[in-house]
Amino acid sequence: MKNETKEAITIAVVGHTNAGKTSLLRTLSRDKSFGHVSGRHGGTRHVEATSVSINGRPYLRLFDTPGFEDSIALQAYLQQFNGLESRRAALGAFLKSPEAEGRFEQEAKILRLLLEDIDAVFYVIDTTETPHAKFRCELDVLAASSRPVMPILNFVRHAESRIAEWRTVLADRGLHVQVAFDAVAPAAGSERVLYEQLSALLGSQRAELGELMAALAREAEARRHAGLRSIGELLVDATAYRTLATRGSPEELEQAVGRLQTKVRARERECADTLLAIYRFDRDDLELSESPVLSGRLEDDLFNPEALKQVAQRLGKGAAIGALVGLAADLAVAGVSLGAGVVVGGAVGGMVVSSWQKALRWSREKLNGRVDLSIEDGALVLLLSRQMQLLFALQGRAHAATTPLILDPSKGNSKALSTHLRLLRTARAHAEWSRLGDGFADDAQRIELIEAIAESIKSVADRSVCE
């Protein structure tokens, strides 16, 4: 009998000890501090409840349980309650028996939970284990609880995964609605598959699960959009930044170059941190350092010689580029003020005059022998490539191609690359659009530009998905 005012779907997560239940719950509930995972004997000892919530409203209530450890003996012990009217009643009788607080105290916790008003049970399987008899006993005991059971096959990405054997065992018991998951490195979309399968299992809750999936999809889209915008803003800030140096003074030039590189590096780091934060990671996360793709993206230096060589080849320049910092070509007035989207009238007047101001400044600086330094296209390409790789990795596409996508010389990518560079050209003329310099001023055009860049990156990302 289901209570009418029930708010969330309740699910018990059971499995043999160290099968990965707690990790699974951390992934689903997005709470890194939930429970504790330990390799030694005895991870979870309590029954702990957490929830999957959207905007604070819980949709799913998940109960982490201690693992089954002594299932064969348990099943043998349960024989004595065989004569009762249902297997469920047998479990109830077991819970009143003395060994429920003795030898089988841990298993009793699990069973006590299952006899409450639970909607479904996730049975988590470590697929690197051989399907021994003890696991079959666990499945039998679960069947006795008369709750819908969904097996979750964990560690499927592992080299020693025996997923086929397990599928046979499960089919043997009629458990066909199942999910292959990898709690530590989930593939993109695997969460969605899990909820879809759950919704097949729990027909009556299909509407709520549908809502949950839609809300999760919306959250994922919002994350992606925010990530793309973050990259776009990084590119605009980097492109628009100028620093001055005196022509003919090598030390000053070197200093200026160093300054620019430092600022751009720091800004890139900021962008990477934002992306991590959006995907709920921290630089100190254990999982992060264990993932080579992710940590690699964060530790490499932007301006290192290898990268320069690669980019030089890609952009078709013969010799290696020195510092990826070039002399800025201060654009002519016409290139700036008559671009698309400028309203007639005073705006034109305003822009023309401000461009005259820029032209005046430029010529004054020429007279003083000062030059403007700004970042070159090659470095922008590198920035974009690195951050896109990071974003992909965070989205769960850890199996992305090894050559950075942007530097892949296929035709589609070349076109996309030139689109990005063209968009950024507008930014070069507006030094005030860079947060790295003084006199930062935000305006509608800058925001539009960031959005346009985000869109064009997205189209590249969509095209080169290899799933």
Binding site: G56, A226, G346, A347, A444
Partner: protein
């Protein structure tokens, strides 16, 4: 400001700005007029105001979050409903936090006050411009009719020339992407307004408004509304002045030329008289035009021609466009919303979600973990509502080791919490109190400890979520001289009545039990 009178077109921000600062001079008007003015109670602000404040806070928080723990605790997750209406629950949550911050955080209150000042200044400037428009209209009309002979063509162009040109410019702007009427910024302008408004966060607020309306056409329509409204006032006042002068002076109407043929003028008068003639006001006859007769009928015809021309080609279109701009602007304002797919908002919503979701709870603990703060001793039947209703709650706070806590015997309905000291424990209690909202809560403190700001702040926060707070001040007799009195004074200063400060457990328990009606269980509060 004197410039405006000489160049009536300039303050519309169109073509003839010979100074880049003109548009940026209009920043505060736009920025403030963009926010609809509705009646404001203390706590209820209009939605655009809230959106602007939220956006300003997000700009402020680029370098780190504000201290928003109180505001977050005051949020409640939406209670559900059909899926379609829950689409903007994220914005509701963010605005809830904004309003919460406005109430408690001094930085945010300052921002809100500056926003208000901005709007007030904007309104003032709008009024000033309106006055100038009216005066300008009257002055132009008076100038046109300044001597007894009126050169009709010059009169027409003086009254309507600039208006028509700016109207055409506006139409072009409407056609070609009215979005990028950006706020340019020049150094001297920020210096001037800094002195005028003296507002620390002026730049922040302008940037916040830029971000908020960046991808809408709100700026264009606000600018249109301002422009058309001011022109309407100008033309209206011109019409009134013209009528007044025509009524009380006698004028001769003439045209002069060196190079144009007379037929041009006949044509001119006829063409421009077309629209008024549709409304039954015929222009002067071609004969009268050519021969420049000066009889009464002709004079009246000329006057009618001028007046009706100004109304038909000037006032009427402008008034209609004002109405249109107002409608469009209102529509765009209504659909204004926060762009929640920004990195800042994504992270903020993650924080809000973490705050609002039900706590992780240990249900059915392992045998050696019986006395955890968040532990419930038995599996609740039903499993879903973990908010037990208690009539009274008594909590130990930083008690010394030799105090026996929790107290051994408690009456039914009173729950004791363990001795709090770490941050996690404090936070857990606050969350619990925020959820259960007990009517009466007693915090047991040790008078032998000193009273510090952190403790007072914490007691404030606890008091915020409970009906009444009582303090059980233990060990008053053995405390150092003056400490117990210090406690009592400070507590009374903070608003805890002397009757709610107890020296003995028994007194505190009695007070707790004296709740008139038991607190309703939160489950029943959420019944549909």
């Amino acid at each position: 400001m004197a410039k405006y009178q000489g160049h009536p077109g300039v303050h519309k921000g169109t073509r003839r700005s010979d100074h880049p600062g003109i548009i940026s001079r209009l920043e505060p008007i736009f920025a403030s007029v963009l926010v609809q003015n509705t009646t404001m109670a203390d706590s209820e602000r209009s939605l655009p105001f809230q959106l602007w404040l939220a956006e300003a806070i997000s700009h402020l928080e680029r370098d780190g979050w504000l201290d928003d723990s109180v505001a977050l605790r005051g949020l409640t997750a939406s209670s559900g409903g059909p899926f379609t209406t829950r689409r903007d629950e994220r914005q509701v949550l963010v605005l809830g936090r904004t309003n919460g911050l406005n109430k408690v955080n001094p930085i945010v209150r300052e921002l809100a006050n500056e926003l208000e000042a901005f709007r007030a200044t904007g309104k003032l400037l709008a009024i000033a411009l309106a006055v100038f428009a009216i005066l300008g209209g009257a002055a132009t009309a008076a100038a046109v009719l300044s001597n007894g002979t009126v050169n009709v063509v010059l009169a027409w162009s003086a009254l309507l020339g600039v208006h028509l040109m700016t109207l055409v410019a506006w139409c072009l702007g409407l056609a070609f992407a009215g979005q990028h009427l950006g706020f340019t910024r020049s150094g001297w302008w920020s210096f001037v307004t800094q002195k005028l408004l003296g507002s620390k966060h002026r730049l922040l607020l302008v940037q916040a408004m830029t971000t908020l309306v960046a991808r809408t056409r709100l700026v264009f329509w606000t600018y249109s509304l301002a422009s058309h409204a001011l022109w309407s006032l100008f033309l209206f006042s011109a019409v009134v002045t013209l009528t007044y002068l025509f009524a009380l002076h006698e004028y001769r109407f003439t045209w002069e030329t060196t190079i144009l043929p007379p037929t041009f003028f006949v044509q001119f008068v006829d063409t421009l008289g077309w629209l008024p003639s549709q409304f039954g006001i015929p222009p002067p006859t071609p004969d009268a035009v050519t021969r420049l007769t000066n009889d009464e009928a002709t004079r009246q015809a000329w006057a009618a021609w001028i007046l009706s021309g100004v109304v038909a080609y000037g006032l009427l279109p402008r008034v209609l466009l004002t109405a249109l701009s107002h409608m469009k602007r209102a529509r765009h304002t209504r659909s204004l919303a926060l762009d929640l797919e920004q990195p800042h908002y994504v992270r903020l919503l993650q924080r809000i979600d973490a705050q609002l979701k039900p706590d992780t709870q240990i249900v059915d603990p392992a045998p050696d973990h019986a006395q955890d703060l968040s532990v419930m001793q038995t599996l609740p039947s039903g499993l879903r509502d973990h908010r037990t209703s208690v009539s009274g709650l008594i909590v130990g706070f930083e008690l010394h080791d030799d105090v026996a806590w929790p107290p051994a015997e408690l009456p039914t309905g009173v729950l004791a919490e363990a001795n709090l000291s770490s941050l996690a424990e404090r936070e857990a209690l606050l969350r619990r109190v925020a959820r259960t909202q007990p009517e009466r809560l007693v915090v047991a403190c040790d008078a032998r400890s000193g009273l510090d700001r952190g403790t007072l702040h914490y007691l404030d926060e606890v008091a915020r979520h409970s009906g009444a707070l009582g303090i059980l001040l233990l060990n008053q007799a053995t405390a150092r001289a003056g400490r117990a009195d210090n406690w009592k004074e400070e507590l009374i200063d903070r608003g805890i009545p002397a009757a709610a400060i107890f020296a003995e457990l028994a007194g505190a328990l009695e007070w707790l039990e004296a709740v008139a009606t038991p607190a309703p269980s939160p489950a029943s509060q959420h019944e549909k």
